[in-house]
């Protein structure tokens, strides 16, 4: 501008000169100071415009003066700022001074001065424009911005680097007119945001120093703001899936797109073909997907699929994806799921699940075969129970917990390849509370009640065991004597006893007999003691020594029960046993003496042997006396399998018995009247023994067991008493087998020792015998103690009676039962 101006002035001047030359030469025209300017407040320059030169070469001289001085100076430097200018360097520049400047033009003819110009350096500062403006776009956090950088204006003065400029930036789209000006501050770079992608922008920058003027705008810079990234990111093929093994779809994940959409193209080639096809259908399966319909779907063929993402800046291709549709089948979940509760035969509920294959899947043609899996859990449960059910479309579930709510889901899968479908929507089923639970409660209650009852029962049993037992198993009443005083028995005299019994005088009268129970029991209790009593009188009698003195009548009356009482006392045996075991056979109806004779074993004349093998081993000598007609005691031990057969009078078999005792510690001879295998044994034995015998059987299997085997207990009852012709007593066996009967003699003082007849097969008729038992026929002569017995039946009775308690005492397990047979001293 300036130069133009100058040159134009020069042209004018030249024109003037030529005119002057034509018209004549003149003094120069008046120059004009155009402008004074300081770039950085330390130096400044002034420019002027020459006036007409008057046709002659003209010199221009600039003079200045300061407001504080009168002196006039000339321009220090006409060169630095170009022609028609004056440069005031640092030394000539004072910011606090006002300069008065004039320019004088001089030629040969004359001179001319300009108007003075007053210059305050501070006010004329205007820096040059910044330089080196550079632009670039950057992307940070998916935001694209413009990054502008520039440099401060260059200065000639070396020291000017310390100046601080303020900058301004202006930006506009290329095609627009309006600038957007941005105040930058003192930094020499700036981040421009909010620009539209894909638009070209023009950017300029200017600066200012303190109070001066803004510099010129710098030269323009252009920049294109890109569309998002360039080129677009590589897309990724996520997956391909065929829902029904007829079509398939591939999805991809595009690269990030900002602002401008990226164009995606799916390309594929099939195995064995060179040609590359483009996706037939971008729309059906939604955005970023490609749907291959039936026509475009081949199986057992590998597809090579790629996705190309393109924008204006370029394109990018995904990694190839190889797909054989055969292996990417993933069906939809099964549908039409129904849950049904049914009850089986045993009324247990079970769950029936039915479902249908997904509607898309063509299962019927066999092209696709589906397999199913279901899972279920209680609603509050954590873990699923998964059940693979194969190809069937129904399933029964047993053993579900009643009262719980179950969640059921089903999914399916092609038979070989592919993947499981999604789980079907959750189905709920409430399993009803099972009645079995109620049943359980009922049963529990019943159980508790019954156990309670049992407890009570057992408690009462313990407390009142005897009574209960008696109640349940009513014993055959023994010949008890009412009102008897045991102490009397033990210590008192016989008279007292008798008086206590109400039997006054001896022999006991019928009054006394009335007290007696009408039963005659033959007992299988431990009468063993009776046996040794003969052998060891001292032992046996020590218990009741006094009673041995008493006569036989009393013995017949009371001894068995007394003994039993004693035994019970001394040994505290179970009372039940006592009652049961009171089997002393007693002759009632006043037949006091008939004891011995009454106690007849059954019609069998022989002793009973349980054990055949050893039956005769122990007692051969005793057993088989010559006459074989002795009433005998049979000792029988199951364990030892031997029997001892004793004649009632053969009390002197004691050694053997003793031995037996020692051997077995406890022998419980029982008068045995009945035996199951009696007949058999009878045959084995010498069955010819005619006399009434008493078997004393040791039925003890266990030596220490105080209890008798109830099965072995036999007794007889008086079946019938015939008083009409000659008094007889029919004894009937009361035991189950009832094969034998004893015949005791009723009546008053008669002894019925004679077998009158055998009625039927179980009834023995006894007749009173004139010659009493005093001379037992079967007495063993060898036996020493037999004589004692023969002395009198009363004595014998007593002695027998006495033996019992002693035995009871001696053996803890001994029972107190008297065997009436033991009292029978003799028969016939």
């Amino acid at each position: 501008m300036k130069q133009k101006f100058i040159s134009s002035v020069q042209i004018i001047l030249q024109l003037a000169l030529t005119t002057a030359g034509l018209t004549g030469q003149s003094y120069p025209g008046k120059p004009r100071i155009i402008r004074c300017r300081s770039l950085e407040k330390e130096t400044f320059s002034c420019w002027w415009k020459p006036g007409s030169d008057g046709g002659l070469p003209t010199n221009y001289t600039l003079f200045y003066s300061k407001d504080s001085e009168e002196k006039i100076y000339e321009c220090p430097d006409y060169q630095a700022s170009g022609p028609n200018s004056c440069y005031f360097d640092k030394n000539h520049t004072n910011p606090w001074t006002t300069y008065i400047i004039t320019v004088m033009a001089t030629n040969e003819i004359g001179s001319n001065s300009s108007d003075p110009q007053y210059v305050d350096v501070t006010s004329i500062v205007q820096p040059d424009a910044p330089v080196n403006l550079s632009l670039e776009t950057k992307t940070s956090a998916s935001i694209t911005y413009l990054w502008a950088k520039w440099s401060p204006p260059p200065l000639a003065a070396v020291s000017s680097n310390s100046h601080v400029y303020r900058y301004e930036l202006r930006v506009k789209p290329e095609e627009k007119e309006e600038w957007e000006t941005i105040s930058v501050g003192e930094q020499t770079h700036y981040k421009v945001t909010g620009l539209q992608a894909g638009v070209k922008y023009v950017v300029q920058v200017r600066c200012m120093l303190d109070l001066g003027e803004w510099s010129e705008w710098s030269s323009e810079r252009n920049i294109q703001i890109p569309n998002g990234e360039s080129p677009p990111e590589k897309p990724t093929i996520i997956k391909c899936r065929s829902p029904e093994k007829e079509t398939f779809t591939c999805w991809w994940k595009p690269g990030s797109d900002k602002g401008h959409p990226i164009n995606h193209t799916l390309l594929y080639s099939k195995e064995g073909e060179e040609k590359v096809y483009e996706c037939p259908d971008y729309k059906t399966a939604g955005p970023n997907s490609c749907y291959f319909d039936k026509k475009h779907t081949s199986f057992w063929t590998i597809y090579n699929i790629t996705v190309r993402a393109t924008n204006e800046m370029g394109s990018n291709v995904s990694d190839p994806h190889y797909v054989d549709v055969t292996y990417i089948v993933q069906p939809d979940p099964p549908v039409n799921i129904t849950l049904e509760l049914k009850k089986s035969v045993n009324r247990k509920p079970y769950l029936v699940l039915t479902w249908s294959p997904p509607p898309l899947a063509d299962v019927r043609s066999g092209w696709l075969t589906l397999e199913y899996e279901l899972r279920l859990k209680p609603e509050e449960g954590e873990e699923w129970e998964t059940i693979f059910v194969g190809q069937q479309t129904q399933c029964k579930m047993f053993s579900l917990n009643p009262g719980k709510r179950y969640i059921v889901q089903i999914h399916c899968k092609p038979d070989h390849h592919g993947s499981w479908s999604e789980w079907s929507p959750e189905m709920y089923i409430q399993i009803p509370t099972d009645f079995r639970v109620k049943d359980m409660v009922v049963w529990i209650i019943v159980g508790i009640l019954s156990s309670l009852i049992c407890l009570i029962m057992s408690w009462t049993m313990i407390l009142k065991g005897y009574r209960m037992m008696a109640f349940i198993l009513p014993p055959v009443p023994g010949p008890k004597i009412k009102g008897i005083d045991k102490h009397l028995l033990e210590t008192g005299k016989s008279e007292e006893l008798l008086s206590a019994l109400g039997c006054h005088g001896f022999p006991p009268t019928s009054d006394c007999e009335e007290l007696l129970i009408e039963y005659l029991e033959v007992e299988d209790s431990e009468d063993q003691q009776l046996m040794p009593s003969h052998d060891t009188p001292s032992k046996n009698t020590k218990m009741i020594p006094k009673e041995t003195d008493s006569d036989s009548g009393r013995g017949s009356c009371d001894s068995p029960s007394l003994l039993s009482e004693k035994c019970r006392e001394s040994h505290a045996l179970p009372s039940t046993l006592q009652t049961q075991d009171i089997r002393a056979v007693q002759e009632n109806k006043g037949a006091k003496r008939s004891w011995e004779t009454q106690c007849i074993a059954s019609e069998q004349k022989t002793l009973l042997f349980n054990n055949e093998s050893t039956k005769s081993s122990t007692w051969p000598a005793v057993q088989l006396p010559p006459n074989n007609q002795l009433p005998m005691f049979a000792y029988h031990s199951n364990v030892e399998a031997h029997k001892i057969i004793l004649n009632t009078t053969n009390v002197n078999i004691s050694p053997v018995l003793e031995g037996n005792e020692e051997k077995y510690q406890s022998r419980y001879p029982i008068t045995e009247t009945v035996h199951d295998n009696m007949e058999k044994q009878r045959e084995m034995e010498n069955s010819k023994m005619e006399q009434t015998t008493v078997q004393v059987k040791q039925n003890r299997q266990n030596d220490k067991s105080p209890f008798l085997n109830p099965k072995l207990m036999d007794y007889v009852e008086v079946h019938k008493v015939r008083q009409d012709e000659e008094p007889t007593v029919l004894l009937k066996h009361k035991d189950n087998n009832g094969k034998t009967e004893k015949y005791t003699v009723p009546g008053t003082s008669k002894e019925y020792t004679k077998v009158s007849t055998v009625v039927d097969h179980n009834i023995l008729v006894l007749m009173p015998d004139s010659h009493i038992q005093h001379t037992p026929v079967s007495q063993e002569p060898a036996m020493e103690t037999s004589q004692n017995l023969q002395q009198g039946q009363a004595e014998k009775n007593m002695s027998y009676c006495l033996t019992a308690p002693s035995d009871c005492k001696r053996e803890t397990s001994g029972s107190d039962y008297m065997d009436p047979s033991s009292f029978m001293p003799s028969f016939k």
Partner: protein, 229 residues
Amino acid sequence: MSAKGASQKGLLLVALLVSNMLLTKEGVTSLPICPNGSVNCQVSLEELFDRAVKLSHYIHFLSSEMFNEFDERYAQGRGFIAKAVNGCHTSSLTTPEDKEQAQQIHHEDLLNLVLGVLRSWNDPLIHLASEVQRIKEAPETILWKAVEIEEQNKRLLEGMEKIVGRVHSGETENEIYSPWEGLPSLQLADEDSRLFAFYNLLHCLRRDSHKIDNYLKLLKCRLIHDNNC
């Protein structure tokens, strides 16, 4: 060797089990239907198809397993799949490639195609069973499967011939099959190439066995159940 022997024993056991299963099936469930006056008591076509489908299912199961094992063990990172698109030796047999094609083709033709594919595999399976033993550190599971597939393929071929004989009305077609010339590739010195040859063969085996299985299931539903399986 002992391991190999054991595997063969195991293989034998499996074969016995399978055959036993089939035999049991035959004995129990499929009493031959003997129409009055008929001379030949034949196993019903349905039963034949049942067995064939079971067998093809089993063969494909084995081949899939074998391929997967091989792929995991030898093919990782080698990019075999990209090279495997060259096709299989049975690709010369034009088989239906989708459901429509499979449904349109006549069942006799489809049966013949199945036969052709099965025959085409006779040879390579024999070689596969022997050559696979030379693979370095080939696991037992791959070895016995190769043998098993070879045997079962023969068995299936027999069954299919029986079915085809039953179904075909007229004369049977010529024996079509696609020859295999891949033996040298299985014996290549270069391990990578050799492994790829195996890979490709197993890949093709898996594909073709699946084809056969699929076709047989289709045929069964079509011929036996009238497209209503």
